[in-house]
């Protein structure tokens, strides 16, 4: 087995061997140095920085989120090269805006950063996609769109991923969505039986498949304009 070796990790990182966090303080832990760098670089677009349970949260202006994360990815002193997760949080309080949450990790510097952008309710939920920076954003953003209805501008193939394309009940993880779904059990069953799963094979097929008429309006428009899909 000459082409395979066992190595210790963390060799590329500077500094001491990391250790399990102990007795983490609720609010008074030290912030990630990247937060300071972000405040210096994008002072206007950084709303505030919070540290909760030793995890740094940077609230950014939604319009500047893409530019900020692009900088975090490209800058040699940050190198946040690993996008762990894209998700959203809706609070039980209807006044509080929906938050889009990105979890970023810098493998070379062994850092973890949470970026949040607040999208006020009432306005259309839209934000720039990170697909051009991280390919992992592809399915994660699709899931976020599927569950919360947040549209990611610039995503090449933004369609539902866990629910089916013609799902009519809305966005399941929104707080105004009841736990059992919007429709009654009998209506859900009726719709499920009326589905024709064989009618769809791929996006290109969809334009000619029987199921095309059942697609949401915006998707039919995008397809009829000849939009290519991301695969």
């Amino acid at each position: 087995m000459t082409r395979f070796e066992v190595v210790r990790t963390g060799a590329s990182a500077t500094g001491a061997q990391p250790a399990t966090q102990r007795n983490v303080s609720h609010r008074s832990a030290e912030a990630n140095p990247s937060a300071k760098a972000l405040q210096d670089k994008f002072s206007a677009a950084i709303k505030r920085v919070e540290v909760i349970w030793a995890e740094t949260i940077v609230y950014v202006d939604p319009a500047a989120a893409h530019e900020i994360i692009r900088w975090l990815h490209d800058d040699q002193s940050q190198q946040y090269d690993f996008l762990i997760d894209v998700t959203a949080v809706e609070y039980r309080d209807a006044e509080v805006p929906i938050e889009v949450v990105w979890h970023l990790r810098s493998l070379p510097y062994r850092r973890f950063l949470r970026i949040k952008a607040q999208l006020p309710k009432g306005a259309p939920l839209e934000i720039d996609s990170l697909w051009d920076i991280y390919k992992s954003a592809d399915w994660l953003e699709r899931e976020c769109y599927d569950m919360f209805g947040i549209r990611f501008r610039g995503h090449p193939d933004l369609r539902r991923i866990l629910m089916w394309e013609s799902y009519k009940e809305g966005y399941p993880l929104r707080k105004d969505f009841p736990l059992r779904g919007r429709f009654s059990r009998s209506e859900q069953l009726r719709q499920a039986l009326a589905q024709n799963p064989e009618a769809r094979y791929s996006m290109e097929e969809l334009t000619i498949a029987d199921a095309f008429a059942e697609l949401p309006q915006d998707m039919r428009e995008r397809l009829s304009k000849g939009e290519r899909t991301g695969e």
């Binding site: 066992v6 399990t20 949080v89 809706e90 979890h103 994660l140 094979y201």
Partner: protein, 435 residues
């Protein structure tokens, strides 16, 4: 093919007058008499440049669950692959918003069901950070044992099914035999095999029974023998190597950019392991090494996972040696249930019991993301609390989901039969992908 056609075929001798092998004629049953079908010359359809759409799954043993792959083929080469998921979607994250933290632990069993006890540990760690709880030393070591046992279980299932997919049957039986032993150990400990729900916020559901460590030591002693056997059968096997080398290659840059984690990322040569780089449960005090591949192909993923089995055994041995005495649960009646004997005899304990069960422990306002190294990769639980007993948001960061997203990239340009090998090398669990 009608009965008559079969009879005609069987009646031909297979040899012509000169004794050379004869092609069995294409025949059809036309009014009782067999008529040979001869395609007119020059009318063979020209298939050059013609693409074929083929559908694998959702009900297919090699897709490891209800995964559906739509493949566009040029001849036998994959031009495009479109995965369809969501057949197993149960809305775990939505349900979690209506459950107390200890009740959510039962849902974590069912998501990555090959690693259920590891998920329990991961969720409890996330909730404990949210509560600001520091668990006891004994609990930490027990959780390390649980995590590594479940890593071995998950890798054994992966190894067995991977062998089946490629056409080797015997290692599957060896792997599942040993996995059964771990299941017996787990069953002795928590009473369940698959849906363990072994942890609680602040501790474990149960301490290990007396004599349990002997069973574990027995397993640690005998398991390397099985590993050596499987190693001898597979690692240098020409068929095995021929079916796996050079398939589904991801370069280190691509692997990071596509968000791969776990053995897939390490097979590509990136030395990132959550246990080493962002340690939890005192993993930094255990002496183990992390295997890193060089080529990022299916064969390297096999080697990495295989070596991880041996490293997990090392961790288990150290954990078994250092297991300290003392309490498993923290001493905090707001979070931990009192012993049953006290709850039925002491007033104060009964009140605590009632409050923990009916109201549930309440964390302070805040949020936490805790990642662990699950067998599939970086598994994280992100929880947001508004101070009530139920989370505002409970998010699973599913490693299989992100790893599977790269399958269109991995299979492009490979043969149809290699799609099965590449898909098996990702080690997906649909319960975790669809949640």
């Amino acid at each position: 093919m009608s009965k008559r056609t079969v009879e005609v075929e069987l009646s031909t001798s297979g040899l012509d007058a000169q004794g050379r092998p004869q092609r069995i004629p294409l025949v059809t049953n036309d009014g009782g008499a067999a008529v040979a079908l001869q395609p007119p010359p020059g009318l063979e359809p020209d298939l050059e440049g013609e693409h074929m759409l083929i559908n694998i799954g959702p009900q297919h043993p090699a897709t490891h669950g209800v995964l559906r792959l739509v493949l566009e083929l040029d001849g036998e080469t994959v031009v495009r692959c479109i995965p369809h998921i969501g057949y197993l979607h149960c809305g775990f994250e939505k349900i979690g918003e209506y459950r107390q933290y200890n009740q959510i632990i039962c849902w974590t069993d069912r998501e990555d069901y090959l690693n259920s006890i590891g998920n329990n540990v991961a969720f409890a760690l996330g909730a404990e950070r949210l509560f600001g709880i520091e668990i006891t030393e004994r609990c930490k070591v027990l959780r390390v044992i649980a995590s590594e046992l479940s890593r071995i279980m998950s890798h054994l299932v992966w190894l067995g099914t991977f062998c089946i997919d490629i056409g080797a049957f015997t290692p599957f039986l060896w792997a599942f035999q040993r996995r059964e032993e771990i299941y017996r150990l787990i069953e002795k400990w928590v009473g369940a095999r698959l849906t363990t729900s072994a942890t609680r916020v602040g501790g474990m559901a149960a301490d290990i029974p007396s004599g349990w460590m002997d069973g574990l030591r027995q397993f640690i002693r005998t398991f390397p023998h099985t590993l050596d056997e499987i190693d001898r059968v597979l690692t240098r096997n020409a068929i095995w190597v021929g079916r796996t080398v050079g398939l589904g290659v991801m370069t280190p840059e691509e692997a990071i950019n596509w968000g791969l984690s776990g053995p897939l990322l390490r097979a590509s040569g990136v030395d990132y392991d959550v246990r080493k780089d962002f340690p939890y449960l005192d993993y930094e005090t255990y002496d183990f090494e992390v295997p890193v591949g060089t080529n990022g192909d299916v064969y390297d993923r096999y080697l990495v996972r295989f070596e991880e089995l041996r490293q997990s055994l090392r961790i288990l041995q150290q954990a078994a040696d250092r297991l300290p005495d003392g309490p498993v649960n923290i001493d905090d009646p707001r979070v931990i249930l009192p012993p049953k004997s006290k709850a039925t005899s002491e007033m104060e304990s009964m009140i605590h019991h009632f409050k923990v069960v009916m109201e549930g422990p309440r964390p302070p306002i805040g949020e936490s993301y805790v990642a662990v190294e699950s067998p599939k990769g970086e598994k994280g639980y992100y929880m947001v609390s508004d101070g009530t007993a139920k989370p505002v948001r409970w998010r699973i960061r599913p490693p299989s989901f992100v790893n599977l997203a790269a399958i269109p990239k991995m299979v492009e340009g490979h043969l149809l039969s290699d799609v099965i090998a590449i898909n098996a090398s990702i080690d997906i669990v649909m319960g975790e992908i669809d949640r």
